[in-house]
């Protein structure tokens, strides 16, 4: 319909038209829908944007490329780190069997409550018994620290204590006096 209209319009222009027919054509043209008016003319607005638009776009594309490259590197670095950790943890049990690592840890972090050591009489190793005895005495001393006595009292090593008690009959022996007083 539109094409016919324009063909008709053109042919009449070429050959000349009586006034009556001319006015009919103008009337047809006037009755064109407002929507068609805009549709036919919309491409007249086409115009290249400012050249800086491409430069801005190019900059954004460059940034994205750099970011994507960077993120790939980060992902690879993280993956390598995870693999390294897995490797270390898988080797730990093997190292554990050959090194006294647990004992070292135990010394660094002693338990809050000390467990009483029990000496097994069947144990023939006398050195161990001595160590246990010593640690027990040491513990007792820590629990009951030495009392501050009077100036008249005298401190002696405990291994000499029995000898001193046996000699308690000797007059003037200070230790014997102290014992008898106690």
């Amino acid at each position: 319909m539109k094409n016919n209209f324009f063909q008709l319009n053109r042919s009449k222009d070429q050959h000349g038209l009586p006034n009556q027919r001319k006015s009919r054509i103008i009337k047809m043209k006037q009755s064109k829908d407002i929507f068609d008016l805009f549709r036919e003319s919309k491409h007249k607005l086409d115009e290249a944007p400012n050249p800086q638009a491409w430069r801005r776009l190019e900059k954004r594309l460059d940034t994205r490329r750099a970011t994507r490259g960077g993120s790939l590197y980060r992902i690879m670095a993280m993956a390598a780190g995870v693999l390294l950790l897995i490797g270390v943890f898988s080797l730990l049990p093997a190292l554990d069997q050959n090194s006294p690592q647990e004992d070292v840890m135990a010394l660094n972090h002693p338990p809050s409550e000390m467990e009483d050591l029990v000496v097994d009489p069947a144990d023939s190793d006398q050195n161990i018994i001595k160590v246990v005895e010593f640690s027990r005495q040491y513990q007792d001393r820590m629990v009951q620290p030495i009392e501050e006595g009077s100036s008249a009292k005298k401190l002696v090593p405990s291994n000499q204590l029995n000898t001193r008690i046996q000699n308690a009959d000797t007059p003037g022996d200070t230790l014997a006096k102290q014992k008898s007083e106690g």
Binding site: K42, H43, K44, L45, D46, P49, A53, R60
Partner: protein
């Protein structure tokens, strides 16, 4: 370079192909944006953002339909997102005073500046719906989804936009418009 070759080169992030694509399609898209956004700075922002999306998602174009149509949709969506940040399309604002600056020369067709002058005189809601329905060919259902309005709002705003446009054209005795009696 065919369209297919251009798309393939852009998928590989070939910078020359990307620039060629931008040079090829940006004038049309810039013209489209002129009908939606008045400010040149806003148009440039939207154009750059839209073409960034086009070039970084070009592998999503599967060749169904026109490539230009695919780009146009992205550009229009971007323009609508921009407008929605600033305008509530459920609110219709009527303008009373229609004083269109018009050139004295009467023409049978609308010139570029005439289109812009007329569209700029419409409120944002009318203008957007007029553009989407009349010039882009969207259905009212699609417009309602795009602008988050009801279908009836879209329809009523289009009728008001057309009425307003007609009044403006009549006021300047534009010859290509039927009188009220003729248009019914």
């Amino acid at each position: 370079m065919t369209e297919k070759e251009l798309i393939a080169a852009c998928t590989k992030q070939n910078r020359k192909a990307q620039q060629w694509l931008f040079d090829q399609y940006s004038p049309t898209m810039n013209g489209t944006l002129k009908r939606y956004l008045k400010r040149t700075e806003d148009r440039e922002d939207v154009l750059v953002e839209a073409f960034f999306k086009v070039l970084t998602n070009i592998e999503q174009f599967k060749g169904n339909g026109s490539f230009e149509g695919w780009i146009r949709r992205i550009v229009i969506n971007e323009a609508l997102m921009f407008l929605r940040k600033k305008h509530n399309f459920n609110m219709t604002v009527e303008i009373d005073d229609v004083d269109v600056p018009w050139r004295s020369k009467v023409q049978a067709e609308l010139e570029a500046q005439d289109i812009l002058d007329l569209l700029e005189k419409l409120p944002t809601g009318y203008r957007t719906i007029f553009n989407l329905y009349v010039l882009e060919g969207y259905k009212h259902r699609e417009i309602a989804e795009l602008l988050d309005i009801s279908i009836n709002t879209s329809k009523s705003q289009l009728i008001l936009a057309k009425k307003r446009m007609q009044e403006m054209l009549e006021k300047v005795n534009y010859p290509g418009i039927p009188s009220k009696e003729q248009s019914g």
